[in-house]
């Protein structure tokens, strides 16, 4: 007989935890609409002036463009290499599979600092100019394990008999991949891609070491914060947030699956 367990204490506690998790961010969003630069409640008025300032600023605009370029490039590269690797791992025998899996997850086990300084040393030694390209390299190695985790989690549930069925019906290897494997795996891969975009869009530490003259958005915010706290940072931060969050709407379906 199941008794209804009401744990009001735990409910209250958990609500506070959620408040703790979301409050800081909500503050930033709120203050980005404040008419004045003050950080007090109540507001003296609502305004979008900080947003206008941000969009009017060439620095911010080029940083947004740079972040976009890097994120898209990262998704493309990680999407292809990660998909192939995920298929490899979900397909083959146990021993090799576990080893490959562990190797692919290593970058996630290290602090971004090490990835950053390692890449910096590499670029210095090979006399490679630092640019958005080198930033992309850093983002690729950083996000690859996360893509792999998300994608292979779903792909593991792919029934190998489906491919045999396709072959039985006359499909060669490439056709099977194109008409059966890929379409069925697509949701997992898309979820992975969204995760990669979000991580890349937000990345600051590795970027710090591998960036050339062109700032990305998080890096620009970081350097602005170190100089002085000005309210336009609230606005740009909200935009940064929007970039990460807009994908949540799409990821929701896939992410909930991930929990199961």
């Amino acid at each position: 007989m199941r008794r209804r367990r009401r744990s009001w204490g735990l409910l209250l506690y958990t609500t506070f935890v959620f408040a703790f998790l979301f409050a800081p961010v909500l503050m930033v969003v709120l203050f980005s609409f404040n008419r004045t630069a003050s950080l007090t409640f109540p507001f003296s008025g609502w305004s979008t002036r900080w947003y206008e300032e941000v969009f009017g600023s060439p620095d911010y605009r080029s940083a947004i463009a740079a972040s976009l370029k890097v994120a898209v490039a990262t998704v493309a590269i990680v999407g292809v290499t990660g998909t192939l690797a995920a298929i490899a791992v979900t397909r083959y025998s146990s021993r090799a599979r576990e080893a490959l899996r562990s190797v692919l997850l290593v970058p996630a086990a290290l602090p971004g600092l090490f990835l950053g300084i390692g890449l910096l040393s590499l670029f210095v030694r090979t006399h490679t100019d630092l640019s958005l390209g080198t930033v992309t390299v850093g983002h690729v190695i950083y996000t690859l394990p996360y893509f792999f985790l998300v994608a292979s989690n779903r792909l593991l549930r792919f029934d190998p008999l489906l491919e045999e069925t396709a072959r039985d019906l006359g499909a060669g290897s490439f056709t099977t991949f194109r008409k059966v494997t890929l379409p069925i795996s697509a949701p997992a891969l898309i979820a992975g891609g969204l995760v990669v975009f979000s991580l890349s869009w937000d990345e600051v530490l590795i970027t710090f070491f591998t960036v050339g003259s062109q700032n990305t958005l998080p890096l620009l915010i970081y350097s602005r914060v170190r100089q002085a706290v000005d309210p336009s940072i609230n606005a740009i931060s909200t935009l940064l947030l929007a970039g990460s969050l807009v994908f949540i709407v799409g990821v929701r379906r896939f992410v909930v699956d991930l929990q199961q």
Binding site: L161, E164, T165, R167, D168, L169, A171, V180, I184
Partner: protein, 385 residues
């Protein structure tokens, strides 16, 4: 109904062997399957039946031997190039396509004209009794419906041989029985060559023209279901097919295809397989349906000389609808007896007369150990099985 227009094929499997990880899965297997035959491969798990089927389909390749289809050697031809289709054990409908797209999958790959595809898909769906299902989504189908669509998807390509890898094993009993009947109807209509793998002997017996009983990678016996049932060649077949009682007895005399064995203190005559010699122990095989029971408080019927007539006690009664399953303790053993449930049922603990005819019993030589799910034996000495 012109779904399978091309005449079906003759399949010849010649001395095929396959080893997995050092363990032989199929050993020197040879079989010829005639055009339009419905052949079942029957056996317990691990007997190699699925491996053999997959070799016919092209998903495994034999280490030795050949597979010949209508005179063409297809042993190393990949599965997508064989005019053979398979219905798999699990539901393998493509989840991202609807029913019509699933069924048409092979036709699209073969670049068949669109109008022709539509027509053939419609015919195939009608054949499997699911007309109008074209636009349905795969996840809305029940297990039985899904396997029917899988069948349609295989049939629509007009394969010369159709393979079945235990396609009904995941379904409920009732649906399974329905589909077995339908499959048989479809086979009759199309006159196709079907090769069907199963571990369910009832399934194999009810649908097939011939049954191949397999064990440890080899053929134990091949024959029409009736022959396997009446004349099992070995203890294994005897106990695998149908519900049999297997009793160890001492052979007293032999001659003319018959033997007399000692059972419960009396001599009982029975038909004998070759190799049974007097003075040795052998196995007496009794079909559960062949044994007759009469209440023990009356005079037993007269039976022919030498046939069994023993007194026993009812240990257990299980009513199963049309049939009743009894367990009778008699002559030191416990027999499984199946009778029609018409008439009055015997009560537990009551006395019974147990009898069977000479031709209902078969004595097989000692040797191969039996796969005996329905036998409970008590040796007189009380030793282990």
């Amino acid at each position: 109904m012109r779904v399978m227009e091309r005449p079906s094929a003759t399949l010849r499997i010649e001395d095929v062997s396959k080893v997995f990880d050092g363990m032989p899965a199929v050993k020197d297997f040879s079989l010829e399957i005639a055009t339009g035959e419905f052949v079942s491969l029957l056996g317990p798990s691990g007997c190699g039946k699925t491996t053999l089927l997959r070799m016919i389909g092209g998903f495994e390749f034999p280490d030795q031997g050949r597979i010949v289809l209508d005179g063409t050697d297809i042993t190393s031809v990949p599965p997508n190039k064989r005019p053979i289709n398979m219905v798999f054990q699990r539901v393998t409908l493509f989840p991202h396509l609807d029913v019509a797209e699933n069924v048409a999958f092979g036709l699209r790959l073969a670049r068949v004209a669109k109008a022709e595809i539509e027509r053939r898909v419609k015919d195939a769906l009608e054949l499997v009794r699911l007309p109008g299902f074209e636009r349905r989504k795969v996840e809305t189908l029940s297990g039985g419906q899904a396997q029917r669509i899988a069948l349609a998807r295989a049939l629509v390509n007009r394969p010369r041989v159709l393979l079945f890898d235990e396609p009904l094993s995941a379904l409920d009993l009732k649906i399974r029985r329905e589909l077995q009947v339908e499959l048989k109807d479809i086979h009759r209509e199309l006159k196709g060559t079907f090769v069907y793998v199963t571990h369910d002997q009832e399934e194999a017996m009810s649908m097939s023209d011939r049954v191949v009983v397999m064990r440890l990678g080899e053929i134990e016996q091949v024959g029409a279901p009736v022959n396997l049932y009446r004349e099992p060649a070995s203890l294994f077949v005897a106990s695998f097919v149908g519900s049999s009682n297997v009793i160890r007895v001492m052979v007293r005399s032999a001659g003319d295809g018959e033997v007399a064995v000692e059972l419960g203190g009396t001599l009982v005559r029975a038909a004998a397989a070759p190799g049974v010699r007097p003075g040795t122990e052998a196995s007496l095989v009794l079909r559960a349906e062949a044994i007759s029971l009469e209440p023990g408080d009356r005079e037993p019927r007269k039976t022919e000389a030498g046939s069994a007539s023993l007194r026993g006690t009812v240990a257990d009664v299980r009513f199963a609808g049309a049939m009743v399953h009894y367990r009778i303790d008699v002559a030191g053993v416990r027999l499984h007896v199946i009778e029609s449930s018409e008439g009055s049922l015997l009560a537990e603990g009551s006395d019974v007369y147990v009898s069977w005819g000479v031709d209902d019993a078969l004595v097989l030589p000692e040797g191969t150990d039996a796969e005996s799910p329905s036998t409970e034996q008590e040796r007189p000495e009380g030793g282990p099985e």
